[in-house]
Symmetry: C2
C-alpha cells in the first residue's frame, strides 16, 4: 500500500531532542550503554544488513563460527572475561533468561526469584510456561532481599510439586534501588539444593568486575545496551560446561519428506542471533569495557559523594541499601513534591529546571521519587549536578544543611 | 577476568575486507539490506544503547507506545504498507515465525510448510514444539512447490492427529532458487480449511510490492536486514485483527508474594523488542523502501537480462523456475567446475577472478553452483558483471554463443 509523503517525512532527519555531548544524561538505564568512539566507527562499517556475515563459513554457517570480524574469538574472550565457560550473544537479556528457563524447565515448573527482579524476568518465565515463587524483600526504605530465604522457597516448591524448582534467579543489581545482592549466598543454597542458578547481571557485568565462577553462577545473563557500551538490542547468555549440552543443543528437526536436517544450528538460539550492528558495537567497545570495570571503585565513590550532597537538601533521602554499592540510585524527594503541588508546571517543574541547566534523564513529571544513574560521569559533572540541584532547592526555598 | 591486550587489539579498527562503494557485491542475502544514506545518519544518532527510549511513556512503558522518535506511528504505517492490520518489529524474521507458531500451536501440533522453506522456519517450529509436514517440490531443475498439495497435507494431518494443523507456512520467495510462490493459491486452501496462514516474505516485502490482504495472509513475516535496508537484527511480524488478541496477549503473570503484575507488556514480544539501531535504520529507510518497491519491475528486467547473457556461456544454466520473477538467482555452472578441476586454486579461482575485477559476494570455493542477487544494481553494474563473467569464460577457453 502507498503511504502519503507527509507521513513518510516523519522518518527523515530523526534526532534525539538533546545532543548527548551538550547535556548530562542521568537516565537510569542509559549510562552504561553510551557507545565508545570505536563502537561509533564500527557501527558505520557494519551497519549494512548482513555485513558481519561476509565470511560465514559455508559448512557450519553459524554466527559464532565467523572469524572475520572476530566473532568466534569474541565469544571466547567474552566467556573468559565473565569467568564463565561458554558465552553467546543473544538479542536481549530477557531472551537470555527465556532461553535459560526454556532449556531448564518444563511447563508448570517453578523458578524461584527475588521480589525485586525486573519485569522481564517474570515475563521470560511466563513465555517459558514456568511459574514463579518470589523471595521477599524488607520493604521500605531498604528493600533488601532476604537471600537466605531462597532455601525456604525451594522447600515450598518441593512440598507443593514434589520436585525441585527448574532454576533460581537472582537479580545481581536490582533496577529499582540499585541494591547489590550478594550472589554467593544464593550460590551456596543453589549448590546445596542442586538447583541451576541464574545470576542476572544486566546492571553489573560490563561496568563492574564480574567473575561468574567466583560468584557461583551456573548461568549469567547481561544486557549489552544497558551496560556494555553497545547498541540495542543485545543480550549476553553465559554458562558453565555443565549446561553446555542443554543450552547449545543442536536442532533435531527433520523434514518428513525431504529428510532435510539442520544439525549445525543451535535450537535455543534459533540458529544465528545478533548478526549486525549491536553485536559489532559490543565487540568494538569490549577493549574499553575490559578496562573500565577496573575503575568501578571510583564510580562508587562518585555516587556516594553525590548522594551525600543531595541528602543535604531538606526532604531528600536515598532509598535502598546504604551505603550505595552501585551507581543506579533511587531518591525520595518529598520536598520537591511539595514544591510541585503549587507550581504551575506541577511535577514537570523539576524536569524543566534541570533541563534548563543542561541536565536530562530524570523522568519528566516525577518529583516524589526518581531514579538517576551517575555511571561514567566525571567528578566535574558530578559537582555540576550537585550544584544544579542546590540551585533549584534554593530557588524554591528549601534548606540545605 | 583480565584479557591480554593483544587479544583485545583484535576488536580495534575492525573493517570489512572490501569497501562497499568500490566493489559490486552480489551476495545473495545482502543486496536488500544495504543501508540508505538516511539510515546511516540515523544509526549514529540513535547508536547509544537505549537512546530510542528517551521518551518512553512511563505508564505504558512499551516500545510501540513511543512517539518520539515516531515508533508508534511507524508500526501503524508499516502495517498499512504491508496491507495488514497490526505490525510489530521483532528481533529477526525467525523470531516472528517462532512467535506465530508459539501463539498458534501447542506441543505436538503440526505446521504444514513448503519443502523449500528456510532452515529457520523449521527451527522456529521446533523451538515452539511443533512438528512439520512438508509440501513437495518438483526437484531439479525447477524446484517448483506443488502449492495445491497443501490441501492433501492438511488432510494427512487431520487423519494422523484428528485435528487441523496449527498453521500453514508458505515461503513467498525461496532462499535457494528465488522462486516466487503464488501466495493466493495457498490462501484459498487456508481459508477453506480454516487454518491460519503465515506468509514468509523475508525476500519479498521491502523490495517487492506486497499487499498481505490481497495475498490472503493471516500473518506476514519479513526480515529488515535482508530486505528493508536495515541493520541486523530486525524482523517484522504483521498480522490481521483476527489474530491480534492472540499475538498481542498481555502478560498474565503475577508475583505470588508481591502481587506484582505486568499487564501492559505483550507476552510473546517479551515486552519491548528492538529498542535501538536496527529499528531506527528500518524507520529511517522506510520512505525509500516505500518508493523502491515501485521499481520492482525494472529489477526483474535486470536479472532476466543478466541471466540470459550468462547463459550464453557454455555449460551455464539458471536453476529454478523460468522466467526469473526475483533477483535472487541460482546458477548451475558445470563449465566453471571443469576449469576448477585443473586450476591450481581449485574452486577458488572463480572468486579470485571476480574479486580482481572488484566483484564480491559469490561464495569462495563454489564453481558448480552458486547464488547471486542483482537487487539494486544499476544497468551499468549489470553489464559490468556480465562483461566480467565473459572475460573469465574467454580466459579459460569457454565458448560464448
Amino acid at each position: 500500500m502507498k503511504i502519503p509523503q507527509d507521513r513518510l517525512n516523519r522518518y527523515v532527519g530523526m534526532r534525539r531532542d538533546f545532543a548527548e555531548e551538550e547535556y548530562i544524561n542521568l537516565q537510569p538505564i542509559q549510562r552504561g550503554g553510551i557507545l565508545t568512539e570505536e563502537a561509533r566507527r564500527a557501527i558505520l562499517e557494519f551497519g549494512d544488513g548482513y555485513s558481519t556475515c561476509d565470511w560465514c563459513p559455508p559448512k557450519t554457517a553459524r554466527l559464532d563460527m565467523i572469524t572475520d570480524p572476530p566473532i568466534q574469538q569474541f565469544y571466547q574472550d567474552l566467556a573468559e572475561f565473565l569467568g564463565m565457560d561458554v558465552a553467546r550473544v543473544v538479542t536481549r537479556c530477557r531472551e537470555a533468561k527465556f532461553i535459560a528457563f526454556r532449556m531448564l524447565g518444563g511447563a508448570g515448573d517453578y523458578v524461584v526469584l527475588d521480589s525485586t527482579a525486573h519485569y522481564s524476568s517474570y515475563i521470560a518465565a511466563e513465555l517459558a510456561e514456568l511459574r514463579v515463587k518470589e523471595v521477599p524483600n524488607s520493604g521500605p526504605p531498604e528493600y533488601r532481599v532476604d537471600l537466605e530465604a531462597y532455601a525456604a522457597k525451594i522447600d515450598e516448591v518441593k512440598k507443593e510439586t514434589g520436585k525441585l524448582p527448574a532454576a533460581l534467579l537472582l537479580t545481581h543489581i536490582d533496577y529499582l534501588y540499585g541494591n547489590l545482592n550478594d550472589a554467593k549466598v544464593v550460590a551456596k543454597i543453589a549448590k546445596e539444593c542442586k538447583v541451576p542458578y541464574i545470576l542476572n547481571c544486566a546492571y553489573s557485568a560490563g561496568i563492574m568486575p564480574i567473575n561468574g565462577k567466583e560468584l557461583g553462577a551456573d548461568v549469567l545473563t547481561s544486557s549489552g545496551h544497558k551496560s556494555w557500551a553497545a547498541s540495542a538490542p543485545t543480550g549476553i547468555l553465559a554458562f558453565n560446561k555443565s549446561l553446555e549440552e542443554k543450552f547449545t543443543a543442536r536442532s533435531k528437526m527433520e523434514g518428513d519428506l525431504t529428510k532435510r536436517k539442520f544439525g549445525a544450528k543451535e535450537l535455543a538460539m534459533l540458529g544465528c542471533t545478533v548478526m549486525g550492528a549491536p553485536l559489532i558495537t559490543l565487540m568494538a567497545s569490549f577493549p574499553e569495557v575490559v578496562k573500565r570495570v577496573e575503575r568501578w571503585g571510583e564510580e562508587v565513590e562518585k555516587v556516594r559523594y553525590l548522594v551525600a550532597e543531595l541528602e543535604r537538601i531538606e526532604g531528600i533521602k536515598q532509598m535502598g541499601m546504604r551505603p550505595k554499592m552501585h551507581t543506579l540510585t533511587h531518591m525520595e524527594t518529598e520536598s520537591f513534591y511539595k514544591v510541585s503541588e503549587t507550581h504551575k508546571r506541577k511535577g514537570y517543574f523539576l524536569y524543566d529546571e534541570l533541563r534548563s541547566r543542561k541536565i536530562v534523564g530524570i523522568q519528566p513529571g516525577l518529583t516524589k521519587h526518581f531514579k538517576l544513574n551517575t555511571y561514567g560521569l566525571t567528578w566535574d559533572q558530578i559537582r555540576y549536578v550537585r550544584d544544579a540541584f542546590f540551585e533549584i532547592a534554593k530557588k524554591y526555598g528549601l534548606k540545605i544543611s
